[in-house]
Symmetry: C2
Subunit: 545 residues, 2 copies
């Protein structure tokens, strides 16, 4: 029996595009004499469809898409994810389902049982969990078909669910497992995924065919990494990351074992590749080509720019240098050098005049109060205004260049440097921004060395340095990581040896700046806890603040 | 037996403040010889605590708060909501619980079974549903204690859950029901609440003591409306809306029936009162007093300003008039008149100079393209910059003045008129903004009549009117309501008699402008479907767009 896994890049709500892409893969699979072709979870509508699922009209379009696919199932079985209506009045209105289509008929519909509802996932918002578990009989084999999370309740220390679907299916003696997934990337996730697949093989002793999405959906990056496991517990083949790939496998060969094609894992490289895919798909799926961003001469805008060039091409990225009276000579030079190294169009538009006009206009209303954060913000907002004007006039999207460390502590100006359509490195701590810069430079000095080595500064007042108001980034990032990714409280962080006053100050800064993050662009997610849809915090709360 | 319901305004994460408020009520109740005092769902930590619940440190503080309350339970039973840890490793780590404290002991802990996970609710993100149901024995009575949603699975056409906790408890023959809730306001909700309470009495024939939160938590407004139901099915007493209230009831009197204190319901008045509470608590809970906003002479800023004055006092609201070359004479006059009618400080700061500077600065980079939305946005962003500068310098919060109709179709400038810390009327359609204006004016002409009667205009180009680019607000708002609140698709809306081309255009505008709403202030929620946490839409999606 020949089984094909189609790791494809779908577009949320673009039923026609998604179906066409699948039909193409089905036609190729037929020519390849494939018996079963598998598409990912909710493939017909893309993942995550979010509240589109609440529209009957949207569900109808999903059903019509399945019917189109069904017409192509002559002589080949198609497994495809789609939402289906729950016929029982009690409970949620939908199931998260996998269709088994064959010879132009719906042979079976399996419903997902374990519905991830944490971090970026909201599945119980929409779906009723399944409570029946049946194998699928096909050409003399019994298939245990599951959906994503269904196989994730084993092998972990803190199981989130009280049942385990595969334990329910096993009494029916399946021959192999197929799991269709929508499992988004973070730099710790690929290892967890292999760990979970191995834990399943160890427990059930069956081969596994696992197919995942690839591609970006605003914040979420799907890295692919579809995999086939031999019953011996070895990885038979792991699909490439961050690109589409369709491969077919002979069941007997998989059962026999070995082959062992495994992707190399490197944290910074994965983050780099994930962000590039994130930018590329954000633009592509919105129907835009061109990006604009401010270049300060600093490392954040430099790294953002280099990644954007790799995602969109140098002809589609434009840099704007906006020096002020507080900008140092090297800032402009470093930014120019970057633009020239990358080969992108750039312009220099000084903010001195508008800044002066605003200061003159507003000073009568400032009650004689001296230079403070107001004046700093006016500079940042003049830049934001210029960038948005260029974006509006030329139809390109502004890239936000804030890093995770500064977004965490609120070291940025709302509607100023926090502006932009998509936050490119907003889930990358400053220390990793340096790592990314070095990775980008590994063959050529795209990012000027001076940009990497000089002390970070916002240059919003004379001789300002980040270190005037923030601790060293090494310390700051460690504390932020423990608080944000590891969700430790102040006592637990202090017990690890950090200064109490510093810890309390940083945690307070994170919490009181929630209002800023609420109004910033979606952040391309690369960590296990990014700002945005996966981290939902009260704004008027008074915890640690 | 005397039962007291304490409808109080809690603050998320402010354990000390919340506990102090409850202790005060307990002391008063003891003096009043109350047997049981009831506080709302998750009262110790406030509702919704959102991802604060994922911090062990936060849960520990909740536990400590319960222990403090327990020390005050000598001679009085206390029912209070708090998160508790789930001792079973499988399943979520927490329960949403109600403690029954008496004589300095924890006598019972009841866990919530039905966990709302839709619209603004995310409870299954955090909590494991309970599967055991016991009555509480107290002074010879048996109490059926439930939490909010637990009693909402009856009396509705489309039950969301497959079980009904009260059906499980009834075999134990309880004498009366207590339900502690965190049920946020929308203008349709108070009627539903009474409907559900009546459905429970009809089914179980028991008196009900229902206590709710009051107060605003960023977007969510809790209106109170706690209630006591007689077993005959009549409302014995409905608590006031939008204010704290503690009342005690004799069980026998409730069983005997009548009294019949019911709050009058008036949609526009409720919206008016809800927004005022929303603004008041947003400022109060963040520790701010003063607001600033732009006054255009139009109805949106006028209504926002009038509501802010009622929430914060006229001495705490400052209006900024920012005319441009496109502003009409009447705009400035109407805005001045409004400020004078309301007795607030106002300043006139023209944007002509900064606008001219930006146009001169940027025109070399505009490739000879003519006046378009870019120049309109520059004006709006000059205003946003001025308002934020005033906000920064004087420590007041900028109020956003956008209405729901324009937020829906993207008729607003990101970082310009869409700026602000809190969106005051962002859940009020334009047609209801007019209704609010008339309601505000019912005794005095606070809002100048000319502001209400003149045709709406953004005044960002010569002789511009909203009706140049949008249909009449009556039609627009109806279509938006069907799409947003009622979640109908294009076909269903067109079938109601609206022009197909118009419907498709409007739905497309709503969907392609998701990126703007993603970056706007939290919206005070008054409808059953507000923009923000209760409406989660993809940005790169391609549905109807």
């Amino acid at each position: 029996m020949k089984i094909s896994l189609a790791q494809l890049n779908f577009h949320i709500g673009n039923f026609e595009g998604n179906v066409n892409k699948m039909v193409e893969a089905i036609i190729a699979a037929k020519a390849d004499k494939v018996d079963i072709i598998c598409f990912a979870e909710l493939a017909v509508c893309g993942y995550p469809p979010r509240d589109f699922l609440e529209f009957d009209d949207f569900i109808r379009m999903a059903e019509e898409s399945v019917h189109t696919l069904k017409e192509h199932s002559d002589g080949i079985a198609i497994i495809v994810g789609a939402p289906t209506k729950n016929p029982i009045i009690e409970g949620k209105d939908l199931f998260n389902s996998a269709y088994f289509l064959y010879n132009k008929e719906i042979k079976h519909i399996y419903h997902k049982s374990l519905l991830p509802t944490y971090d970026v996932f909201d599945e119980y918002r929409y779906f009723e969990p399944a409570e029946t578990f049946d194998v699928i009989h096909f050409k003399g084999k019994k298939i245990a078909l599951t959906i994503c999370e269904d196989i994730w309740n084993i092998g972990n220390e803190n199981p989130l669910y009280t049942i385990c679907p595969m334990d329910e299916i096993m009494p029916q003696n399946p021959d192999f497992m197929i799991n269709i997934s929508a499992s988004p990337f973070n730099y710790e996730h690929a290892e967890e995924r292999i760990h979970v697949l191995k834990a399943n093989v160890a427990r059930y002793g069956l081969p596994i065919f696992y197919v995942n999405h690839v591609g970006a959906q605003t914040e979420l990056i799907f890295d692919g990494g579809s995999a086939v496991m031999s019953p011996s517990g070895e990885v038979f083949e792991e699909f490439p990351y961050f690109k589409e790939s369709v491969k077919s496998f002979d069941l007997d060969e998989v059962i026999a074992g070995t082959k062992n094609i495994i992707q190399q894992k490197n944290r910074i490289q994965e983050i780099h590749d994930a962000i590039i895919l994130g930018v590329k798909d954000y633009f592509g799926k919105l129907g835009f080509k061109k990006a604009i961003l401010g270049l300060s001469g600093g490392i954040d805008s430099a790294v953002t720019c280099a990644l954007a060039v790799r995602a969109l091409g140098k002809e589609n990225v434009r840099g704007i240098l906006m020096p002020s009276e507080f900008s140092s000579e090297h800032s402009v030079n470093d930014a120019k050098q970057l633009a020239e190294n990358l080969g992108i169009q750039y312009d220099i538009i000084s903010i001195k005049d508008p800044y002066k006009v605003f200061i003159n206009l507003l000073s009568p209303y400032f009650d004689g109060r001296g230079f403070d954060v107001t004046e700093e913000n006016i500079q940042a907002r003049c830049r934001g205004l210029i960038l948005m004007a260029m974006s509006n006039k030329h139809g390109n999207i502004l890239l936000n260049t804030s890093n995770k460390s500064e977004m965490a502590v609120g070291y940025g100006t709302l509607y100023g440097d926090l502006a932009g359509g998509i936050s490119v490195i907003g889930d990358v701590y400053k220390t990793d921004v340096f790592n990314l810069a070095n990775y980008i430079n590994k063959e050529n000095e795209y990012i000027p060395i001076n940009t990497i080595t000089k002390p970070p500064s916002a240059e919003l007042r004379p001789n300002q340095k980040d270190s005037d108001s923030l601790p060293d980034y090494e310390i700051l990032d460690e504390i932020l990581f423990l608080y944000i990714e590891r969700q430790l409280g102040p006592k637990e962080i202090i017990m690890k040896g950090y200064d109490e006053k510093l810890v309390r100050r940083i945690l307070r800064l994170v919490n009181i700046n929630e209002f800023k993050r609420h109004q910033t662009a979606p952040v391309i997610r690369v960590s296990s806890k990014a700002f945005g849809m996966g981290r939902r915090m009260p704004i008027v709360g008074k915890y640690l603040s």
